[in-house]
Amino acid sequence: MTGETPDFVGEHDVDTTTLDIIENTLANTRDEMDRVVETTAISPVIREQSDQFPLIADAKGRMVMGQFGSAIDTIIENSPFDRDDLAPGDVIATNDPYMCAGAVSHTPDMLLLRPIFYDEDLVGFSSQWGNLMDVGGKTPGSMPVQATTIFEEGMRLPPVKLYKEGTFDSELLQTFAHNTRLPDHAEADIKALAAGTKAAEERVQELCDRFGKETYVAACDAILDRTRDGMIDLIHEFVPEGERYTFEDYVDDDGMGNGPIKLHLEIYREGETVYLDWTGTDAQVPGTVNFLLNEKMFKMFTGVFLIMAFDPLLTFNDGYYDLFEVTLPEGSVVQPEFPAALGNRLPMMARQFDVLQATFSKLIDGFSVAGSYGTSPNLVYAGTDSEGNDFQMLEILYGGIPARPGGDGLDGHSWWPLFRTVPAEYQEAYYPLSIDEYSTRTDTGGAGTFRGGHGITKVYTFEEDGAITFQDDRAHTYPWGVDGGTHAQTSEKTLVRTDGTEEELPSKVENVPVEAGDKLVFSTAGGGGLGDPLERDPEQVATEVRRGLVSEEAAAEEYGVVITDGAVDEAATEQRRADIRETRDDLDEFDYGPLPDDDDLEAQIAAERREFNSRGN
């Protein structure tokens, strides 16, 4: 173990049934917080895409229930007040990543934090953050591509009290909202987040009413301790001691011609401590893809991965923090220095997950997950319509979920939990565009015994002049396959002008003018495959051919399955598989796809940006 044993380890003055009840109630409360925000917020990003993250912490600010870890101590440190200055009815708000150690990692994420009191004693905190539609800055949506400092990414609120002892500071909120392009949305969404934290306050107070304050506090300790015990078991069982495992992968670029950007992770265990070291990761970049990775959040991600893979019933919380030791090199893309721009940190965040799951795939026998579509593609279309009304649409898109142990990846699904596609009928009713196509990209997931999920194609026809901004990744690097599974296909974006000319766009662009009648074809990347494709059940391949999810050509070439009239030709398939086995190279543990070497890729990425800029963008 690294430091001291945490103070919650030991005996707890709460009987096990009461403990189970309190743990259940807190788990339900977390869901309730989400429901409150989803139903009362106005932004489609929050209401349709569940982009908000609740947590309940103990009086020391340790997350007892939630999934992104807690940075409550840092937030209070960076605020003008101390813990003792907190009073019932206070709510703290901040959207400055540098003030909360990256607990929110770009400016559109607004975090609200409510201390919870019982009998005048602090018994915990509830917190929730959500993605606002706009917080000002140089582009609609506040996620510019061409920015080099956070000052270009909108209005930042340091940790300040939005409610003081229950009294709402409307001037503060108006000042903030005034600096955004959609002040009504900002106000409504922030109030919705506050309502979510209030729901948790009420439930925690009810638990104190029911079981007594001391029992509640003891139960929080016990819940942390229980999770810690469970994690110690998981570490002993699944993380081998001694050997060091490393993995490297890339984010394409920073949207300003710099890339590829390397992420390097090393994992090893000594005793009960698991070391996770990002040394070897590239330095921070000028553009907006830097990811201020919160150390505690990364411990949480690591623990959550182990839990979801091996013991999904274990509660996630800050109980296991001392079991992980993380090294984040200062000034790297995962620990950039103020005032680096952070707006488009999602490719880096997603790649960090890819790298984490790849390293675990290496170190855990018999458990592998392939690479994913690897970002959270998002599109903004904004302008002023012919009647003079401003419009601003923001949409998140999805791609191929990687093949998983024991199962195929999912086509066009969300890597991020609980997100949903915005209905085409919503977009067409409220914004000047039509959705001509929303379909699965056949053959874009990696082949394997378990197939990687395919990406999707979405085709928009714009009905008013305006401008589009989007961020995507995996246009130059491939979601890798694992254990003999093959890599997936990359993402692509094409603008089709009214005269039929086609323009390929890089995966990160800002304020590209579009005219009424222009079409955007947005195609996301797939997920990698797992295991030898020649081991896949031919009948399953044939079913997917009939469904249009795999082409006959891919069936023959990738899977060695010969389809005649929609059915498997067994003799031909056997022959074809034998031929492929004879001629192919040994299967690699990872298939990264046909990547050029680093220097060539770097030159390609720079050239692509120069070419795009030369078109006047």
Binding site: T16, T17, L19, D20, I21, N24, T25, N28, E38, T39, T40, A41, I42, R47, E48, Q67, A188, A192, A194, A195, A199, R210, R226, D229, G230, V304, F305, M308, A309, P312, L313, L314, F316, Y398, R404, P405, D411, G412, H413, S414, W415, P417, L418, F419, R420, P423, A424, E425, Y426, E428, A429, Y430, S434, I435, D436, Y438, S439, T440, R547, L549
Partner: protein
Amino acid sequence: MTYNLGVDVGGTFTDVIVFDEETNELTIDKVLSTPANPSEGVLRGIEEATAKADTSVEELDLLFHGTTVVTNMLLEETGSRVGLITSAGHEDILHLARAWTPGPLYGWIGMEKPDPLADLVDTRGVAGKINSPAGEETQPLDEAAVRTAVQELQAAGVEAVTVALLNSYLNPAHEERVREIIEAEAPGLPVSISSDIVPEYGEYERTLTTVINDYARPQVIQYLDDLDASLEDAGSTAKMNVVRSDGGLMSSTAAKRRPVELALSGPSGGVVGAATIASKKGVPDVLTLDMGGTSTDVSLVEDGTPGTTRQTKVGYREFKSRSVDVNTVGAGGGSIARVQLSGALQVGPESAGADPGPACYGQGGEEPTVTDANVVLGRIPPMVQLGGKMDLDHEAAREAISGIAQQRDSTVEEAAQAILDIVNENMYGALRVVSVERGYDPRDFGLVAFGGAGPMHANALVDVMGADPLIIPPGPGVMSAFGFLTSDVQNEFSETYLETDQDVDGADVHAEFQALQSRAVDWLESEGVTAEDHGFEYYADCRYFRQDIQMSIPVDIDNLRSDAGLAEIKDDFEARHDRQFGFSLDAPLEIANLRVIGKGSIEGVSIEATEPGDSDPSDAQVDTNEVYFDGDYYDTPIYDRTELAPGNEIAGPAIVVEDDSTIIVQPAYTARVDRYANLDISRGDGR
């Protein structure tokens, strides 16, 4: 002499209840269901129950029929092969399923995603475009492509076809034309169009709901045709009413067109019955608890009216159909208890089911269940035979629970008590969702408990929740069938409106409501309800402009003739929003949908009062048992419910047994038989 009959077709048992209009007597019967050919079991139940009530099928006047046939078809994926016609470019709509993966982070690693109910192989896209929000045709329908699609689908062997095109909620012209073409090309093939089934925005949910309709339709048509025919053969002239998910009734003909409305037909009956019984005795605000073998359904009844929802969930699939707002949790008598690696005790959602069932059934089950915990603690007296059919194996129950006790280092009694505490907590969580989370305080409500296991657990629940009184109706095991008898003919007519109070006035909204009402009148007439029995309710589903919430606000349409009516709707909405979420906004009111519910009242049953007599229950006491409550064994008297009379009072601890359930009265509680033969249980001496 005339009789009315309610029949509730479950997965295992079919419950029947017969009401004699002359004597007000109720006769209860239970037979085994016949899932392979469901109408067979229904007919057998009807024949057996009428015989038991000394009457015959010929003398039945009204039939009320609820069924889990559709529910089970969805859960077990045993419906028909459905073809799907979508807008070109949107064929993958069900496959992509709005991209949703479960929480938490990495939830996708373990996600199990069932295949769409309409296979991609049987899905065709056709060109043609209705724009939005104008609802105008901007690209004509490709009729040749429709014909080709229909021919291909028919040749492939689909048994029904769904048509679901983009923006059809604004203008159904293309969908209607596709239906015409299908009817011409493939006469007799059932077709549903999405604008008819759910005329509302949201293409995924509308498509899914309509596909579910067609998935169930061929078998429901067969089932209801068979049942109608065999009843006719048996000499019945009774009018058949089918119970919808929202607790209302519709004819067989209507049910065959819209079987998706039957998805929660079964559970709705219990809620409607509980609402009726509670209102009758003057407790119009109640929570309901229907606890069975594998799951528990809870709901909230306000002012005698069950809450309804427009989002119905069966298994993985959540679709748009109006249903009684029941929240289901995997907690039942058969729920299995397990100790997790971390030491946490978990009860359910896994269930021992009916086979092998709990260990105490002696059918080879070894897993410790909730029922076994009740047996260990003496809460199910040895004299009780579950379902009247089997003896309890106390040793096996104790053996099963002792495994849990060893893992938790506790006595067997403590382990059993912990199992009950956890399962009760899970039900309490479900009750909180329908009450506290929606801004209701459970202490302002009574609790009506039924289902085989509900009366055994309900007293412990009211103790935690503070609900009062606890009401155990007569025949708690057949509550759904009873509830059907209390239902009215009912259907909902809705449309997406999406207008704000800045863009329309009261007269506009009034005109829309009248148009919906005239559709409701047509339907009621087609269901054979005469004009004097028609009733209407009007609702506006409101939110702040662009919110996702839809709060259903009851509307007095006469007031809409002036603009005060619109302001009244906004005031009501803001008050509810503030109560539930603690804030209001300075934003326009958006009316997302308008809905008219057309009702025709039917008298299926009447509940008569008996004057209460003596409070002494001692004549009904049949035995005494040692029962464990909160750490101690108590000498607990056992009463036979059939021997209890209105006015009798029982001090807890006590157990009241009857044919289909066991009622627990905890220490410090008193039970009293009311004028309608309900057992009311309250804290203290009950006065």
